[in-house]
């Protein structure tokens, strides 16, 4: 079974992000990591590989070449192959453009199951997966907590606000997953050493048969008009000390603010 995991490279959010020209994230200037939610998708793929024979896992990323070092963690935990779709013309891609490009790459490989994260920590759009599946004409199920494959279908359990449900789709299918997947594995030292020298298969737009003028910023469907820093927030009133007095402050705050009109 061929499993493809869509893994985006995102900035490691430990500082304030730098914005480059045209208010885009300067993706070359920041320490890139695998989008944390996509690590759950990798985990699900690895669990499938442990429970059934013949599972081959490929990571697929659209992003700059500089994304690679952060993505190699996927190989270190056991992903078999990595494909990086990278082309200067892809810079400035909108969400739809990203989906179109990923779908074009997926048409060049065989897959039974495509996995992705529920959303990304930088964009938080949560739309690319369903868009890719729709472009490929395959069924999709989003926000899976657990997943099993059998009888040519994928079975998913996912939470609802008021309970849970199980859904099933015939393969090939697309499934996005959430943190409910549970604990992630850490790469072993051997895994890290082994992945170090490996490089992803890199595809340019030309390899996908896409004209540069038909992709990326040139075809972006959305534009950023302006970006403003937030209004500075008044510093908090800080209270400490004798618990009885502190509790009085809290009750007063609630009354004073007329919290609910």
């Amino acid at each position: 079974m061929q499993v493809v995991v869509l893994t985006k490279s995102v900035p490691n959010t430990t500082g304030d992000e730098g914005l480059g020209p045209a208010f885009r994230l300067d993706r070359n200037a920041i320490d890139p990591i695998i989008n944390p939610n996509d690590e759950y998708a990798i985990e699900v793929a690895l669990r499938l590989a442990e429970t059934q024979p013949g599972v081959q896992i490929t990571m697929l990323t659209m992003g700059p070449a500089a994304a690679w070092p952060g993505l190699s963690k996927g190989l270190a935990v056991g992903v078999h192959n990595a494909i990086l779709v990278s082309d200067p013309a892809l810079e400035g891609s909108c969400a739809l453009g990203t989906a179109n490009t990923l779908a074009a790459a997926l048409r060049r490989i065989t897959f039974d199951l495509i996995l992705a994260g529920a959303d990304t920590s930088d964009g938080r759009a949560g739309i690319v997966g369903a868009a890719v599946a729709t472009l490929l004409g395959i069924p999709f199920i989003t926000h899976a907590g657990t997943l099993a494959v059998g009888n040519g279908a994928v079975q998913v359990r996912r939470l609802r606000d008021d309970g849970h449900e199980r859904l099933e789709a015939p393969l090939p299918a697309f499934v996005s997953v959430t943190q409910e997947v549970g604990d992630l594995r850490y790469p072993s030292l051997r895994g890290i050493m082994g992945s170090r020298s490996r490089k992803p298969t890199t595809w340019s737009l030309g390899d996908l048969g896409i004209e540069p003028a038909d992709a990326g910023g040139a075809r972006a469907t959305t534009i950023v008009l302006d970006v403003e820093p937030p209004q500075p927030r008044l510093p908090a009133r800080i209270v400490a000390g004798e618990p009885g007095a502190v509790v009085g402050e809290i009750v007063e705050f609630i009354a004073e603010r007329r919290i609910v009109s």
Partner: protein
């Protein structure tokens, strides 16, 4: 006149979904500013009642009933129907709530129509075209963005607009389905409901517990403070991972986005992944032993202290002197 602005609603147990009324209100206001028609659309197994509710907010509502016994209508099938209607009726823009269901439908529609998507708007204004306002990144940058062309899909944070009835009942129109149009390869094989805690998404007061609550026994304090404030219970991810509370109550990047009048954070550090879910709260009170916890920067009242000591006292004091201005 610009192309109509559509709101794609959903029915939940036959009613309009809870986020629907607010998003529909924004669509009505946006369309008025644009001089365009505001139209609601509901596709579902029991769409009629939800459609009637929606007609309280929008001047015209289309609805379509899925045939078949199963109440589950897959988003890909919905997208196919909506895509067909869009092609025939030619609206300008489509707006959905940025909920899990709204997002997946937005993705499927964008792909089908090849329209751009502006996501997670906290407001949409009109200036010859829709302008989406959003808040991004750790540093809470305020971004305004627009579509390059004359069409697009917008996802709106579900609780940023207060629902306001239009004052007139909109027209209702049933749309016929094509044969087999809603057939889907995705099947629902099990549905278990009725295990819900009070939803955080529309709560006016939320009491959230974090890792600092420490234990399942400690969690009872969170629940009892919530009860005395008539609040919904929220949680950080470590509290959910520890099994003290269900995932439905998680607030943050991979949980809910909330906008209460009062947010009480107990033992919550305020990491960015949590903060993106609560940064629109109107007032924040935090209790934390660590004076330097990041949440101090996003609080209005920051109490340095042990929640295990302060919360029981607070509950007691609230019982004695109910402060004015609490709901219910």
């Amino acid at each position: 006149m610009s192309g109509a602005i559509w709101f794609i609603g959903e029915s939940e147990d036959g009613r309009l979904q809870s986020s629907g009324a607010g998003v529909a209100t924004l669509v009505r206001q946006l369309a008025a500013a644009a001089g365009a028609d505001a139209v609601g659309l509901i596709v579902g197994s029991e769409p009629e009642r939800a459609a009637r509710e929606l007609a309280g907010y929008l001047p015209s509502v289309l609805w379509a009933r899925s045939a078949g016994a199963d109440s589950f209508v897959s988003p890909s099938a919905q997208a196919a129907v909506i895509g067909r209607l869009v092609a025939v009726r030619d609206p300008g823009y489509v707006v959905l709530p940025a909920t899990p269901a709204g997002r997946e439908l937005a993705g499927a529609l964008a792909a089908r129509l090849q329209w751009g998507v502006l996501t997670n708007a906290v407001d949409v204004s009109w200036d010859g075209r829709p302008i989406a306002h959003s808040i991004v990144f750790r540093s809470d940058l305020k971004v305004r963005s627009a579509f390059a062309g004359d069409h697009g899909v917008i996802t709106l944070q579900p609780n940023v607009v207060t629902p306001v009835l239009s004052g007139a009942a909109g027209t209702l129109e049933e749309v016929a389905m094509l044969d087999g149009e809603l057939a889907s390869p995705v099947r629902r094989t099990e549905l278990v409901t009725g295990t819900a805690a009070a939803s955080v998404e529309h709560a006016r007061v939320i009491v959230t517990g974090g890792a600092g609550v420490g234990s399942r026994e400690g969690w009872a304090l969170v629940e009892s403070l919530a009860a005395s404030l008539n609040a919904a219970v929220g949680a950080t991810r470590p509290a959910v991972d520890a099994g003290w509370v269900g995932y439905s109550q998680q607030i943050g990047q991979t949980g809910k986005t909330v906008r209460p009048d009062l947010y009480v954070a107990l033992g919550v550090s305020g990491e960015v992944q949590h903060r993106v879910g609560m940064r629109m709260a109107r007032a924040v009170v935090a209790i934390n032993t660590d004076r330097d916890a990041p949440i101090a920067r996003y609080s209005d009242l920051f109490v340095v202290g042990d929640l295990a000591v302060i919360v029981p006292l607070l509950i007691e004091r609230l019982r004695e002197t109910r402060p004015s201005g609490l709901p219910g």
